[in-house]
């Protein structure tokens, strides 16, 4: 099937696919995850990314970052490791070259915001606020180490997390989704911390943490040694954590972690997601976000499901 035909099917079924994340309405529940679509230019060569529910662009920091040395990625069983190191051109360039372009082509942009201390996050948030009409939402990447607090990750300490969120929501009116790290003893505790703030919603999960070893040398394959772990292998963990978070919050949840099929999307909606993001699967198939919507419509027909919302939260009833 040609892309044009696929897009037509999606358009024809748009009344069955639209989702609400609280007050935000998206065309459909599918968006590429941060770090897995760069700033959208490449995917837009395959299909118009304005047809997506949204696009979550690469983590953006105050200053440009070079990222980590090579090797940065490695394949594992049903997944991959990455340690890119938040390479990005810095918020000024991102606004000028990417956000404005995304806005001009009609894309729904979610900007992923990262930093190394509270101030650096706040700086980015303030700049994003100046182009707020071009931005649908901010996704707050809290899996960064806080260099001011001995390198503890913001997303692993409830108090530090709340403090960071509060300082962001204080300087911007853009809805903020907090992207939870799965690498914590209690994900509920973190969700409850978010619940006490003005954050708009939650996105989850960020990568697990893993390592790969070259058996010949005995050395880590990834230059940074430790790396983020993504792909189908992390799906069971994602489903479990979203299930638990949905038990303690009514905020909108963008679910992700290993999604590569329409049935995966239905599973993520069932445990409590309101929309989903697709990360690693884009690497294997550049048109996955469109293809998966086509499959989703077919399964909805098969199961006699009129609207995608009917899948939401079924694991909890």
């Amino acid at each position: 099937m040609l892309i044009a035909e696929k897009l037509q099917i999606i358009t024809d079924n748009s009344h069955r696919l639209n989702v609400n994340l609280g007050s935000l309405e998206l065309k459909n529940p599918v968006m590429p995850a941060s770090g897995c679509c760069a700033f959208g230019h490449e995917l837009n060569n395959f299909y118009p990314i304005s047809e997506l529910g949204a696009i979550m662009i690469k983590s953006t920091t105050d200053e440009a970052r070079d990222g980590n040395a090579n090797h940065r990625i490695y394949e594992t069983s049903s997944g991959m490791l990455n340690s890119i190191g938040l390479q990005n051109p810095g918020v000024d360039v991102v606004i000028e070259q990417h956000i404005s372009w995304l806005s001009s082509i009609g894309a729904t942009t979610i900007v992923n915001l990262a930093g190394s201390d509270k101030q650096s996050y706040v700086n980015v948030a303030k700049k994003l606020e100046t182009v707020k009409e071009q931005i649908c939402a901010i996704e707050l990447n809290v899996s960064c180490p806080n260099v001011k607090q001995g390198g503890i990750q913001f997303g692993t300490d409830p108090e530090m997390l709340k403090d960071l969120i509060n300082s962001i929501t204080a300087v911007t009116t853009i809805p903020v989704f907090v992207k939870l790290s799965p690498n914590v003893t209690s994900i509920k505790e973190m969700a409850l911390a978010v619940e006490e703030t003005d954050a708009f919603g939650i996105s989850m999960i960020n990568t697990l943490v893993g390592m790969a070893i070259d058996y010949k040398t005995g050395k880590p394959v990834i230059a940074n040694k430790i790396a983020g772990y993504s792909g189908p292998a992390i799906k069971p963990v994602a489903l479990k954590q979203i299930y638990e978070v949905r038990q303690v919050t009514n905020k909108p949840i963008i679910g992700m972690g290993g999604i590569e099929s329409a049935t995966d999307i239905i599973e993520f909606l069932s445990v409590g997601s309101d929309a989903v993001a697709i990360g690693t699967a884009n690497f294997n198939n550049p048109t996955i976000c469109i293809d998966i919507l086509i499959d989703l419509i077919a399964i909805m027909d098969e199961l006699n499901i009129e609207h995608i919302n009917q899948f939401k939260g079924r694991a909890h009833v």
Partner: protein, 238 residues
């Protein structure tokens, strides 16, 4: 750049651990020398980057070495159809004058179409090919149709003994290199000539969205898959 399922026309061993895979090419796909493809291996999660070794109107050829699990699986399975994403990346800018091709190991693969197109362009070719040992030699016969071939082996079992680095390169010759990183660095710094070098790095996507393949070259951070794999030789000079 397109994702396609292509029929396997042939899949055979060329030398020790070295295989040739010929796929049926749709007419509208027009690769250029130096470009590559991401090739799906059943049972592996990510696709594997392989240089386009050669092509005709209706075929596209890859030559790969069995290195790890993915290439081993590919060589052992005999798929009738393979999913590929192609053509990807930058190509070698072709001279019409004198060209010196220096390639080692599987870096020799893309020399097939490069030599053919350079020759068609009217260029004169000196071709230097490095292998580990005699039973790994491939493509040398074919390449000798387009120019003067010199073979090097590390153990001296065929051709000259030692690394594939010609003692002299004509001053006006354009260098085309492809091979392991140390070889590219040696080429970059040993000869003052202009030229083009093709490099490699681990890749997840192959088309610019993951930033997994980024390396630091003279002019800054580059995506091997998108800005490369072929870069101007001076990018590697130090």
């Amino acid at each position: 750049m397109e994702i396609l399922k292509l029929n396997v026309l042939s899949h055979k061993q060329l030398a020790v651990q070295t295989f040739e895979l010929v796929l049926q090419k749709p007419l509208h796909i027009c690769p250029k020398p130096g470009q590559f493809a991401m090739v799906k291996v059943e049972g592996k999660f990510l696709k594997r980057p392989l240089s386009i070794s050669d092509y005709t109107e209706e075929t596209i050829t890859f030559i790969y070495k069995v290195l790890g699990e993915g290439t081993k699986l590919l060589s052992e399975s005999k798929p009738v159809e393979i999913e590929v994403l192609l053509p990807l990346g930058s190509d070698f800018e072709r001279t019409a004058g004198h060209a010196t091709l220096i390639a080692g190991g599987v870096g020799i693969a893309p020399m097939a179409c490069l030599a053919r197109e350079l020759a068609a362009n009217g260029a004169t070719l000196d071709i230097h090919l490095g292998y580990q040992t005699a039973n790994q030699v491939f493509l040398a016969d074919k390449l000798s149709e387009y120019g003067n071939v010199t073979i090097y082996t590390e153990d001296g079992s065929c051709g000259q003994k030692g690394y594939c680095l010609p003692t002299e390169v004509a001053p006006d010759s354009v260098i085309y290199g492809c091979g392991p990183h140390p070889m590219l660095n040696a080429i970059a710094n040993q000869y003052p000539n202009q030229g083009w070098l093709s490099t490699e790095e681990y890749m997840a996507c192959g088309f610019g969205i993951c930033a997994g393949c980024v390396i630091k070259l003279k002019s800054g951070l580059k995506k091997v898959c998108q800005d490369g794999p072929v870069f101007a030789k001076e990018e590697f000079e130090c």
